[in-house]
């Protein structure tokens, strides 16, 4: 490790006022980002928020209409060749050649980089040792995704881009992939990933930018973002008789309730002190002789942050 450069290393990624328009959609609309070296940074947002367009511009695969992108202090128009050597990229949907084996695929990608890891090392790292000689076409979705990750890290990149790394995978495969990404992070490399899973962003990312309509609408650590709600918990309930209603003022007056929202299934309260708010809510319901159909609570998540910012839910926004 060089010691002199550590004084002021360039940001791993610097994006300023990025714009990109497709025929009738403004996919990216004035987006700014700064990602520090060694950070795992997440772009969280619903489908169509402009995450993939943003990341593909950063990867040098799409041209922006306007705005600046600097990666590791380098720029695509000047330093493409050097940048390619230092980036690892996993695209959202790549079907690797089905007729090749796992080992042949990794060997092909390794051959493109001047420096990198050994083929054995990478295959072991993504836990595909048993599948070395298997054709890509015979792999499960999770195994294919791990192979894609292997191809992304075989050049030993300084910066790894992962576009929706676990979309469409079963829970077990997702966890396995999260472990691999966590391991890579532990090596001190920078990771930039996009996801529309809030649990993924919370689990993996040091910092998260919530993206909607091509803009960053919130930025911070997952804890900061959740903390910004001023409520650590969310209480959801529904009344047995849907014709009966409770007014917002009554609910807001309950001790510890920070915000009230009506949702299709009933009511959603953002709550700072669960242990006081729930008994108080039950007391109000008893007093009004209202019966509950259901009552659930969960710790506030990035999903709740997105809902409070946009009024829409992440998964079906």
């Amino acid at each position: 490790m060089p010691t002199t450069a550590a004084a002021a290393p360039p940001p791993a990624l610097l994006v300023r006022n990025l714009h990109k328009q497709y025929e009738d959609v403004q996919a990216v609309n004035g987006l700014d980002l700064v990602v520090s070296p060694g950070e795992c940074f997440g772009l969280l947002g619903p489908n169509g928020a402009g995450k993939t367009t943003t990341i593909e511009i950063c990867e040098g695969l799409l041209a922006a209409d306007s705005g600046d992108v600097e990666i590791l202090g380098l720029r695509w128009d000047r330093d493409e060749r050097r940048l390619r050597e230092r980036l690892g990229i996993q695209l959202q949907e790549t079907q690797l050649a089905e007729k090749l084996t796992v080992e042949e695929t990794v060997r092909l990608f390794r051959s493109f980089y001047a420096n990198g890891r050994t083929i054995d090392e990478v295959i072991t790292l993504v836990q595909l040792d048993e599948k070395r000689a298997a054709r890509v076409g015979k792999l499960s979705g999770g195994q294919k995704q791990r192979l894609a990750l292997a191809c992304a890290i075989v050049g030993d990149p300084d910066l790894l881009f992962l576009d929706e790394p676990t979309t469409g995978l079963d829970p077990q495969s997702r966890r396995q992939l999260w472990d691999l990404i966590t391991d890579f992070k532990a090596l001190g490399r920078t990771i930039i990933l996009t996801t529309h899973y809030m649990d993924e962003a919370e689990m993996l990312c040091d910092r998260v930018a919530i993206v909607d309509h091509g803009k960053v609408i919130a930025l911070g650590t997952p804890q900061e973002l959740i903390g910004s709600l001023g409520a650590e918990h969310v209480v959801e309930f529904a009344l047995a008789d849907p014709t009966q209603t409770l007014d917002d003022a009554t609910l807001s007056a309950i001790d510890g309730v920070q915000a009230v929202r009506r949702v299709a299934s009933g009511y959603e309260l953002q709550v700072s002190a669960l242990h006081r708010a729930v008994p108080a809510l039950l007391a109000v319901l008893t007093q009004r002789q209202l019966e509950l159909a259901q009552l659930t609570t969960h710790s506030a998540t990035l999903e709740d942050v997105f809902v409070s910012l946009t009024g829409r839910q992440l998964r079906n926004a």
Binding site: I89, K99, S111, F112, T118
Partner: protein
Amino acid sequence: MRERQNPSNAPRGLFSSSLWQLITVRFKEYTREPEALFWSFGFPILLAIGLGIAFRSKPADIVHVAVVRTDSSASSLAAAIRRDPGLAVEELSADSAAAALRTGRVALVVSASGSQVRYQYDDTRPDARTARLMVNDAVQNGAGRSDIRPVADSHVSERGSRYIDFVIPGLLGMTIMGGGIWGLGYSIVDQRRKNLLKRLVATPMPRSQYLASYVISRLVMLAVEAGVLLGFAVFLFGVPMRGSFLSMAVIIVVSALAFGGLGLLIASRSKTIEGVSGMMNLAMLPMWVLSGVFFSSENFPHVIQPFIKALPLTAANDALRANMLRGVELSALWPQMGVLAAWMIICFTIALRIFRWR
């Protein structure tokens, strides 16, 4: 900048170079696709076998004739005719004989009335006229005529002028065209469609190497395909190879590059297999018909001959045919080679300019 930790990886040999890897990947993908192997090897050979059988040089056909069964003189007449091994004789009733003549089962009906022999036949049919001559000879000889001058027959079959000799260079040209256009077009569009092309350009892979891997692997596979087809034609059908091997190799390589360029051009933008298949068929179909694969392109009207001559498959077929059958060397084939070179240069130039990598 962080220092790299794997100095042992740094110097690398030929086998781990990216161009070598890309080429071996091409071969693996190709040889692991049984259908592709069939279309490049099996299909031209099956076609050659089929055509070889259909248009083989057959021994002269046996001519069928009928003798009308009237009286005992009929059987002695039939016996006399039967002495010629080129004639097959049936003795039939007058009605059956007439029916056999009408349907063409026999070429000639012979009937005797007294000492006169009557021949019934259609004198517009060449085989009927042949039958008339052969039968008459047999009848006259049977009645005691003897030839005045002795004769001897010797049969010839000229290699190089049979249909199979014509069609093998055409099939070779067609194989080169199909390999170039399908081999590049389909595979590249398939990789673009699957986002694999985009994934590859996201690595430091030199783009020229990607394209070079296609051209090189195509040429190597073509050498095998052409070798199999030609070896088969020479050993099984005795098709002549009168030109020099070098001229032949040059014609094949230049044709392959011309069609490779055309395949690359067709594949340069398309994102769907349907789209590229349509364009490939659009490019190949006119050439299958016009360029003299199965029959001479001279059959088409004079006015469209310049257009036909400008097609790359016409140039390839004409050059291959002239070289194989007539031993014409490259120096005399410059019009054809010029057409192929022009296609090659124009197609590659445009294709590289408009190629969609993402």
